[in-house]
């Protein structure tokens, strides 16, 4: 397996995508440093503790390349994925910005633009923020993403600005057997506020890889709502890394939904960079067939008066496999931390599997922290109650499964997204109960 893992990077690295036009020297250096690190790093295998339950080796066996030419996408193909509430939409096709599919509403103090444009406009905030949270120097996938960095989505919200309507970042995988490296950067300056929907969709059902990195800087007293939707095809590989840094009194609320991919891994790291921060980190993986969905989250309470709430749910059907590893670290100085984490898992079949590992590491003495995990099947008394009211067994199971999943989905403050996801869950659970 290790040989395969090594040859994966060897095969990959010579194919590094070209740098963006008029690339500033700092970006060239950033890419070069990441490439050097990618050469030195090793891709993970199940021998790594962090990948014990998630075997990435199938990824290393397939040959995937960054598409050389931009695929054509008809605007009508976007219809099912559009979010009417969104003020602006940046669409990326196989990792490249697609101006014809995007729509940007000018708003004072709010920049929503592809990376290339912010570079040509020499917005210093990009240089100050890019690769500052996810450096691409300590882990192979984010190193490759950074080495390949040529395009991406940038959202910059100036001080005290309220970007009221959501910003939709839609990453489409269009070419079969392609590897793409999406990158997103969100900077919410002091006292500002925004909602960003990061959305991964495939328009094909063949194998492919999305290796995405996002960075979110939440300034002092700023508030960011982050919705992450991973709804790629069930043959896809999806590796996502998100780094969030929250300054004093900042608020970060996220809901991550994983419905797609044959193998998906989401690494979320939220770091407290000031006192009095507030995090709500919710997640749902709803998978079936032979899908594997892995979420690794790391909440770093480094300073006093931080609050965090995390609810992660997995609904696992057929022979699918969900993994959750949620670490909450309360460092010695982080007094008065108030943190709670819940991992709730629903197994719909005998073959479904979940590995959940909540981890609480506390090094401060004046804190309020709790965590819990449950793994179970649908409650027989609930199923019976519904049947005693005339519902068929499958309708009863669908309704209960839906209710379990909807609890997370409903935390997304966007009605159209909630509705579409609920429809997707209904379709999924009904398929499940028929099979």
């Amino acid at each position: 397996m290790d040989a395969q893992a090594e040859s994966y990077l060897e095969r990959l690295l010579p194919g590094q995508a070209g740098a963006p036009a008029s690339s500033p020297s700092w970006l060239t250096e950033l890419r070069a440093r990441a490439l050097e690190r990618a050469n030195a790093l090793r891709v993970p295998t199940t021998r790594d503790e962090d990948w014990r339950f998630t075997d990435p080796s199938p990824l290393y066996k397939v040959v995937l390349e960054a598409p050389r030419q931009a695929a054509q996408v008809d605007a009508g193909a976007l219809e099912p994925w559009l979010i009417p509430e969104a003020a602006s939409r940046l669409v990326f096709v196989d990792g490249s910005f697609a101006p014809g599919l995007s729509s940007i509403r000018p708003e004072s103090g709010v920049v929503v633009a592809p990376l290339g444009r912010t570079l040509s406009e020499r917005d210093e905030r990009v240089q100050d923020a890019l690769a500052r949270i996810v450096s691409g120097t300590d882990e192979a996938f984010s190193a490759v993403n950074t080495a390949w960095l040529r395009d991406g989505a940038v959202v910059l919200v100036s001080r005290e600005r309220d970007a009221r309507d959501p910003i939709h970042l839609l990453f489409l995988s269009v070419s079969e057997r392609s590897a793409t490296y999406p990158r997103s950067l969100v900077v919410a300056e002091r006292g500002s506020c925004c909602t960003v929907v990061e959305d991964y969709v495939s328009l094909h059902s063949e194998v492919g890889l999305t290796n995405a990195v996002s960075e979110i800087h939440v300034g002092e007293g700023a508030s960011v709502r982050h919705v992450r939707l991973q709804r790629e095809g069930t043959a896809a590989f999806h590796i996502g890394t998100c780094g969030v840094r929250v300054a004093r009194d900042g608020r970060y609320r996220s809901v991550s939904i994983a419905l797609g991919a044959r193998l998906s891994r989401y690494n979320l790291q939220v770091v407290q960079a000031g006192e009095g921060t507030d995090f709500d980190i919710d997640g749902l993986a709803l998978i079936s067939g032979r899908q594997l969905a892995d979420t690794h989250s790391f909440v770093d309470h480094a300073l006093p008066h931080g609050r965090s709430r995390q609810l992660h749910k997995c609904v696992v059907g057929d022979a699918a496999h969900a993994v959750f590893n949620g670490k909450i670290l309360v460092r010695p100085g982080a007094q008065r931390t108030d943190s709670a984490q819940e991992s709730r898992n629903l197994l719909l079949t005998q073959r479904a599997q979940v590995d959940t590992k909540p981890q609480l590491e506390i090094f401060a003495d004046d804190v309020k922290c709790g965590h819990g995990a449950t793994v179970g099947q649908l409650d027989a008394e609930q199923v019976f109650y519904l049947r005693s009211r005339g519902l068929s067994e499958s309708a009863a199971r669908d309704l209960l499964t839906f209710a379990f999943a909807a609890q997370v989905v409903e935390r997304i403050a966007l009605p159209s997204v909630v509705r579409r996801l609920e429809d997707a869950i209904v379709r999924r659970t009904q398929k499940e109960s028929r099979s």
Binding site: D379, A380, E381, Q382, F384, Y385, L386, R387, S388, R389, G390, L391, S392, E393, A395, L399, L400, F402, A403, F404, A406, Q407
Partner: protein, 259 residues
């Protein structure tokens, strides 16, 4: 078969985890009647109700229960409900995340559809349910909450009767519908049940106490003990039980058996 017999239970025996709880129940309920099944705790009253509803934890080991001439025991729980059998649970289960309104509408439409009647869309259903809410003095805000979640004891019982009002069963068994209710809630529940009575349906009240029977007058009162119905009388029997307890009935029964 007797005319108009809605339910005929003959020699019904049932076990849970290998232990026999019901030891040969005999009971006939005709349309238009109200029956009360009373008895000490552990006599098998609730088990009997759950067996009739088809609870999977209980294994029927013998006998039969005919509903409208057809064997209930061969029907899935949902088929029993669609045929017009209803159990108001002693402890209704909480279902976080399932909104009461969508649950009630789904149940209503499923049962209506099975009876060949029109289903209602959300708006039509909302109108329909308002009348029933008034009958049971239920706050409409109650519809937007998760089914039974965080409901008080009284709210749970009223929600059961609300379901009975919506599903219009031909035979309703109310398992301890009075337990945990204050006097006002008890009146509301009893009044609701009385209003839902017709010459074509029947009600079986399973209860430990006599007080519910002050509001709903039974035609028959049965005493259950150790998995059997050991005495049947009229509403006077309930008053006598209230006064004298259950022991004398059991003593009488044993004496009869010994003779």
């Amino acid at each position: 078969m007797q005319r108009n017999a809605l339910l005929e239970v003959r020699g019904l025996t049932a076990a849970v985890a290998g232990v026999e709880i019901l030891k040969g129940i005999e009971l006939t309920v005709r349309a238009g009647e109200v029956h009360a099944i009373m008895g000490p705790n552990g006599s098998g009253k609730s088990t009997f109700a759950k067996v009739l509803a088809g609870h999977p934890a209980y294994e029927v080991t013998g006998g039969d229960a005919l509903f409208d001439g057809k064997s209930l025991l061969r029907m899935a729980p949902e088929e029993r409900a669609r045929a017009g059998f209803f159990l108001a649970f002693q402890y209704p289960v909480e279902m976080p995340g399932v909104t009461n309104s969508s649950f009630l509408r789904l149940a209503y439409n499923t049962v209506q559809g099975a009876r060949g009647r029109d289903e209602l869309d959300p708006l039509e259903f909302d109108d329909y349910v308002q009348d029933k809410l008034r009958l049971l003095q239920i706050d409409p805000a109650f519809l937007e909450r998760s089914v039974n979640e965080g409901f008080s004891g009284g709210e749970k019982k009223r929600n059961e009767i609300l379901q009975m009002a919506l599903l219009e069963p031909r035979l309703a068994i109310l398992d301890e519908a009075d337990s945990g209710l204050d006097i006002d809630a008890l009146r509301i529940v009893a009044n609701g049940v009385n209003r839902l009575r017709t010459p074509d349906n029947a009600v079986v009240l399973v209860t430990h106490y006599q007080r519910l029977l002050n509001y709903i007058t039974p035609d028959y009162v049965h005493v259950m003990d150790q998995g059997r119905i050991i005495k049947t009388g009229d509403s006077q029997l309930a008053l006598e039980l209230e006064r004298r307890g259950y022991d004398w009935v059991a003593d009488e029964y044993r004496a009869r058996q010994a003779a």
